[in-house]
């Protein structure tokens, strides 16, 4: 049993409220990602689960047991820190086995577990090195190994990949996910990188200003964002958000009133369209192309529709001639409608 449950957790420092009423459940064996911009409270949430900070209000349950008042070590969790937190004067083997030694695990067992874990994360042969003699990726693996060797069912990770280069980050993402599945661990993973969240998570919790903005599978967050904030946080480039105004048959785009219209919509609402859902076609909203960023497999084209600017993802290489005009079109299913003021999704 390794379910984690947060019930109405609040955390404040002095007068600043860092977490405002956060509740969620991380089911056993799930890979849960806490996603959000800096200062949204995701790391604080993780540290509260670990017991490195104490909650101001609310309760934290691990495996159904209330651990709110328990010390970090009594919670039987492992943690991977952003800085890795390796002991610089100890070699790889001593770093990994640090906790086993603290808990006085017999030497023989320590050795077997160390060997097994070293094999698992690919560190065999580096056991005598000091952290300073390792590359960033290898240090990351040591931190992972130290978390795994404890054989706790819960592992917390605080932006573990943020110090690695892009190529290595991709590799480690796959590896961490694979390890988590093989060992059946419950992982709570903090990141500000939506790519990490989308590619690794069973469930994503998107946070903003100390509150949960939306909770769901990566696909749910991508295809039915609950707010414009989620819509623009998930997806790269972010979703276009266009202002509507009242037209004769419903809402029309501000600055391009004579074209597409959406029934039962109008002023006070915005629509969201993903760049990848927009096509160039014979009919549709006329737009002026401004620039294109060529990315290899596709190009990100910036265009202007009336007074509003949109971003369109086009396959292959897309050349923009100065002042070129095209028509842009997207389907009704690809249109997300939000309240302009609250940012909340309006179900059609």
């Amino acid at each position: 049993m390794s379910t984690i449950e947060l019930k109405a957790v609040k955390k404040s420092w002095g007068n600043t409220l860092a977490l405002k009423d956060v509740s969620f459940i991380a089911p056993e064996g799930d890979f849960l990602v806490l996603l959000g911009p800096s200062g949204c409270g995701k790391s604080t949430t993780l540290r509260l689960i670990a017991g490195l900070e104490t909650v101001t209000a609310g309760r934290i349950l691990i495996a159904g047991e209330d651990v709110t008042a328990k010390s970090p070590s009594e919670r039987h969790i492992s943690m991977v820190f952003q800085s890795y937190a390796l002991f610089p004067h100890l070699n790889v083997a001593e770093n990994i086995a640090f906790g086993l030694k603290v808990r006085k695990v017999p030497v023989d067992e320590r050795k077997t577990r160390l060997g097994r874990v070293a094999e698992l994360v690919g560190l065999a042969g580096l056991m005598d090195r000091k952290p300073a003699q390792l590359s960033g990726g290898q240090r990351q693996r040591v931190a992972l190994a130290r978390a795994i060797v404890a054989e706790n069912h819960i592992c917390l990770m605080d932006e573990p990949l943020s110090n690695l280069d892009a190529q290595l980050r991709h590799e480690m993402r796959v590896e961490i996910r694979d390890l988590q599945k093989r060992l059946g661990m419950t992982v709570v993973y903090v990141t500000h990188d939506q790519t990490e969240a989308m590619s690794m998570a069973d469930k994503v919790i998107l946070m903003r200003d100390g509150k949960i903005e939306q909770e769901g599978t990566p696909d749910e967050l991508y295809s039915t964002p609950a707010t414009t904030f989620v819509a623009r946080f998930i997806g790269n480039p972010p979703m276009n958000v266009l202002t509507l105004t009242d037209g004769p048959d419903g809402g029309v785009l501000e600055g391009a009133e004579s074209y597409l219209s959406w029934k039962q919509c109008g002023a006070g609402q915005v629509i969201g369209v993903r760049p990848e859902d927009i096509d160039v076609s014979e009919t549709g909203v006329p737009a002026e192309l401004i620039s294109a960023d060529y990315l290899g497999a596709d190009s990100i084209v910036t265009a202007r529709m009336g007074s509003q600017s949109v971003v369109v993802r086009m396959p292959g290489r897309f050349q923009v001639r100065d002042g070129e005009r095209v028509n842009l079109k997207w389907s009704n299913e690809a249109t997300h409608i939000f309240d302009a003021k609250t940012g909340h999704r309006v179900e059609p």
Binding site: S83, A85, G99, R103
Partner: protein, 293 residues
């Protein structure tokens, strides 16, 4: 281009000159002069200094006071260094923690270092004074008799040791505090998550990571223990019966009270040699076992 090369060299030497002049004039030249002087007799107006080779060293080896002073100095070093380092670490760990008014506590611990040694010696003189001194007054409250702390050869060195510890621990604490603050807090959190107690963490992580600081402090402490003169002037003048005289104070006496410059030079050479051997030894022995980041 040789001319440019020369200019670069001249430029380099000009930059080095101010420091070099000071070092040569006040450190290197006196050292060599002392060494030379130790091989001659003390010259007077009627009798110029004569070369005597190692005769001064021969005299030194037969000098009972010299051996007494060396013995005092060893006891003094053994008594002050480990204790003041231990107290320094303890205080640093203590004021590094989140405690109320820690700025005030840190300042309080550092105050003895800021005070001039002469003033400090006068304060302690009051503590140690028989009958009316603070210590005797406290002792008499519990029915103890009066004791001449500085006048008794058995207690006088101990008294000097206590003052030095009191003075130096706060100074060393600053270095340990700086080192502690450079340790990333995640290390302690990681250890804490693994169930390590505070003592275990200190023993296995903090202390080893403080070793570079300890080496630095140790060398300083050793040098200081051979350099002490100030409080001896105020408190004991090396007495009674040389029971509290230390090497540098003895050199001072020989040079400026007995005006035996040659013998003072000889003692100085010995002092320099001892310090050199100790620092080299510390580097060679401890350096291998220290982790530098």
């Amino acid at each position: 281009m040789p001319s440019q090369n020369v200019r670069v060299h001249v430029y380099g030497w000009l930059l080095l000159m101010p420091a070099a002049i000071l070092l040569i004039a006040f450190t290197h030249f006196p050292t060599v002069a002392t060494l030379v002087q130790s091989l001659f007799t003390t010259g007077t107006a009627t009798r110029p200094a004569a070369f005597v080779g190692a005769e001064n060293y021969q005299i030194m080896l037969e000098d009972d006071v010299f051996w007494q002073v060396v013995q005092n100095n060893i006891w003094y070093a053994v008594g002050t260094i480990p204790v003041s380092i231990a107290i320094a670490i303890l205080m640093a760990v203590w004021v590094n923690a989140r405690l109320p008014a820690r700025g005030l506590v840190r300042m309080a611990y550092f105050t003895p270092t800021v005070l001039p040694m002469i003033a400090v010696a006068n304060i302690w003189l009051f503590f140690y004074t028989p009958d009316i001194g603070l210590i005797d007054q406290v002792v008499s409250l519990f029915g103890g008799g009066s004791h001449n702390w500085l006048g008794d050869p058995d207690t006088v060195l101990g008294c000097i040791i206590v003052i030095t510890i009191w003075k130096e621990a706060g100074f060393f604490m600053i270095f340990y505090l700086a080192a502690l603050q450079s340790l990333p807090p995640e290390l302690e959190e990681a250890a804490h998550l693994e169930g390590a107690s505070r003592w275990y963490y200190f023993r296995r992580v903090t202390f080893p990571l403080l070793m570079p600081t300890t080496l630095f402090v140790l060398i300083n402490a050793v040098i200081n223990s051979f350099k002490l003169v100030d409080q001896l002037f105020i408190l004991t003048k090396g007495g009674p019966d040389n029971a509290s005289s230390l090497l540098l104070y003895y050199i001072y006496e020989v040079a400026f009270s007995f005006f035996d410059e040659a013998y003072a030079a000889t003692l100085t050479v010995v002092l320099l040699a001892v310090l050199a051997v100790i620092s080299v030894g510390q580097f060679l022995l401890l350096d291998k076992r220290i982790h530098y980041r």
